[in-house]
Structures are given as C-alpha cells and as structure tokens.
C-alpha cells in the first residue's frame, strides 16, 4: 500500500517532521516495493485549513496511511472521512518509520493528538 510520512527536508534518512498540516514535504512510500518519492506539501502555505488540505492532497495521491508526530482535530476528522489510517511516532527517519509500520509497532490513533493550527 501507499503510505505518507511527514518530512522537513524531503529525505528518507533524516529525522521526520512531527507536524502534519504544515510540514514541508511528504515522503510517499510504496510499502511493498519500498520505492519512495518526496512531494512538497501544497498545504504548507495554505491560507487556512492546512490539515484538511494536506489530507485531500494525500488522498488524491492514493495514500492509505499517514505517519506523523501529531494531528490536529480538523486533520484527523478529514483523515477519518477519507478512510486513511493515522499513525503517530515520537522519532525516527522515514526509513525507520517504514520498518516500524511494516512490523506493526507504530501506534494508530483514533482521535486528534494535538491542537489544530486553525488557520
């Protein structure tokens, strides 16, 4: 399946971004082939509602699960509506987080884990 990991610099082997709506990049990975690419987050400079817009972008890219540090309430609601599963991690590079996801050790969240940037 296709998953997305929030990233600051768009690299596979550097620390991920703990923030979702306004991270600089998403690392989009195919969990079967481990092929990955970095896509700039179109919601980074969004006027408002960055979380939901980021989700719309990822949904359009066929993403089925996301990994980040925390989700605001609006981002989470949108992920839920889109049928995308939301995971959180405290630290790690996208490569490490991919491994953690595949081994089933990542925590899936069932509600928002942080306040939303309401703009």
């Amino acid at each position: 399946m296709i998953i997305a990991i929030s990233s600051t610099d768009g690299k596979f082997n550097t620390e991920f971004s703990p923030r979702f709506g306004r991270c600089n990049f998403f690392i989009i990975v195919d969990t079967d082939t481990r092929e990955w690419e970095s896509k700039p987050n179109p919601a980074l400079n969004a006027r408002g509602g960055a979380g939901p817009q980021a989700v719309q972008f990822l949904s359009g890219a066929g993403v089925e699960a996301t990994i980040t540090g925390r989700y605001g309430p609006n981002a989470y609601t949108t992920l839920e509506a889109a049928g995308i599963r939301a995971y959180v991690a405290e630290a790690g590079t996208p490569e490490e987080l991919l491994d953690a996801f595949l081994s089933g050790t990542l925590e899936e969240v069932s509600s928002a884990t942080g306040e939303e940037l309401h703009h």
Binding site: T8, R19, R22, N24, R47, G114, E115, L117, H118, H119
Partner: protein
C-alpha cells in the same frame, strides 16, 4: 526544537519587555537554548524597537480578498446586497459598490451575481521581515492598518521562524505574543510547548489573566505565570499567587515596577542589558531561570 510563547490577556503588562530581556539572556554562546525570535504582535510590533535588528529579507503579505463590482456589467438587480451578511454592499443612484473595509471576503456575492459582474481582488495586507540582531535572528511583521487577517500574518511569521530554526538547528523559537485571546493569540499559541503569562496584579489584569489561562488550557498548552509590576497592588499579587497555588500553576517570579524598564526601552535596549542590576532585571533573571527549567523539565 521547542516553542515558548509569551502572553498576557490584557495589553501593556510587559510581554515585550520580558521577551526582549529573554532574548538578551539567551544570546550568549553558553545559553541553554540557541534561540530564534518571533514577534507575533503584528498590529503593534514593538520587539524590534528594543532589539534594533537589521532587515535581511522582506516579503509582502497578501491577506484576503475583497469583492469589486464591475459597473459596466452590473444590472443593478440588488442580489449582492441581499446576500451580503456583512453590510458591505451599498447602492446610490442604482450604482452598487462594495465597502472594502466591511467586506469579509466571502465571495457569496460573486457566485450569486447573475451577470458575473463581481470579482475578488487580493488585498496587500502587510509585510513580514527576517532580520538579524545582536540577540539572534528575529522574524517580525507589519500589518497595514485596518487590514484583516492579522492571525494569518502571525502564522506566517511563526512558520518562517520555525523553518529557520529547523534548517539551522536552533533549539528554541521565542514568540512575543499579542494581547487578547482571539485569532492572533490562537495563532501565536498554536504549536507552543510552553506559555509564559505575564500578568499584572490590577483588577483588569487579573480578570484578563484568567481569560488567557483558560485559552492556553483550551489548546492544551502548559502555562507558567509571572507577575509584572508586582508591587503596585499587593492584594492583586496575593490573589494571583493563591490562585496559582490552588490550581497547581507554576509561578516563576514577581517583577517589581521599575522605571528602568521604560528608560531601557527609550534607549533601545533590553533592560537586562541596559541595567543588569536594576530590580526588574534581577527579577526577570529569576523568571527566566524558572522558565528555562520548565522547558528542560518537559524534555524528561
């Protein structure tokens, strides 16, 4: 990388003076956190007056848009005035115009106009700056007076500060917050690890301190309190201390009223740099020590 925001509720309690002093105390090489500064009070950005930065980069800020009616295509049907909920459309001699100050930018009129005679025009709402100062990099902004979307400009300033901090491995973004509790404050609080509330012991000050505390609580941000001008009304100071005890809120210090704070402002310096041994400077050092400890405690 952590984010500390300085708030007050009531205006004029001393946020910027404390923020400037913190910037000074965090500027030496051996300071506990390598710090980027952000002035989130975009309506009235005063931090630059005491940090005296040099602007390195400036960008325009396009806020929202306002509606504009093309009178050539307008059939004076009046539908725009009917749908506008912000009293922004007026008519004189069958000429319909939009008041750009009243216009909320919702574009309802644009979509309802049967002649497609209305379009949205982007508004230049301000500028933001990346500057260098003796105390580190400073991100600040100027909102064009009477413009909307100050909350968005705050978000932009903080975002830029955060991006620099991440790029160049800074440990802390210090945000000098605006007064109030509405959208600019909410934008300033967003993503903060810790809020320092600078309270004043006056009747108004205590009232507004409660409002801003409820706000930080609402957004799940840990808050510390310090009392500025603590000696002007001891009853008020006692009230605040008792409240903190009861609610288990950490009180990190009391700063006496000290004219040196104003004098240092006039000389364009943080009080701790201008007069390090003045009563306010000494008290602010204690507050700063308490805040640094709280930030470090969060890492555990």
């Amino acid at each position: 990388m952590k984010q500390l925001v300085i708030l007050s509720g009531k205006g004029g309690t001393g946020k910027t003076s404390v923020a400037a002093a913190f910037a000074d105390l965090l500027s030496p090489e051996n300071a506990p956190f390598k710090t980027v500064l952000a002035d989130a009070d975009v309506d009235a950005s005063n931090l630059e007056l005491v940090l005296k930065p040099s602007v390195v980069e400036r960008e325009k800020f396009w806020g929202g848009s306002v509606a504009e009616i093309d009178s050539d295509n307008c059939s004076a049907c009046g539908i725009c005035a009917e749908v506008c909920r912000f009293d922004a459309v007026s008519v004189k001699d069958d000429v319909y115009t939009v008041d750009p100050i009243a216009c909320d930018g919702c574009a309802a009129c644009v979509y309802q106009c049967p002649n497609e005679a209305i379009s949205m025009k982007e508004q230049l709402a301000g500028e933001w700056y990346r500057s260098e100062s003796l105390y580190g990099p400073l991100f600040h902004a100027m909102l064009i007076p009477a413009q909307e979307n100050s909350g968005k400009l705050v978000t932009l300033v903080k975002q830029q500060a955060r991006l620099l901090a991440l790029d160049e491995a800074y440990d802390l973004v210090l945000v000098d917050g605006p007064p109030g509790i509405g959208c600019p404050v909410i934008s300033a609080v967003s993503g903060a690890n810790l809020a320092l509330i600078v309270a004043e012991p006056t009747a108004s000050g205590v009232h507004d301190m409660h409002r801003v505390l409820e706000t930080t609580r609402h957004f799940g941000v840990e808050a510390l309190i310090c009392i500025n001008k603590a000696d002007i009304y001891l009853d008020g100071t006692n009230k605040i201390e008792e409240y903190c005890r009861k609610e288990n809120i950490r009180m990190v210090g009391k700063i006496p009223f000290d004219l040196m704070v104003t004098e240092s402002m006039i000389h364009g310096k943080p009080v701790t740099s201008y007069q390090p041994n003045s009563p306010a400077s000494l008290a602010i050092r204690d507050v700063w020590t308490g805040v640094m400890k709280a930030l470090k405690d969060q890492e555990l």
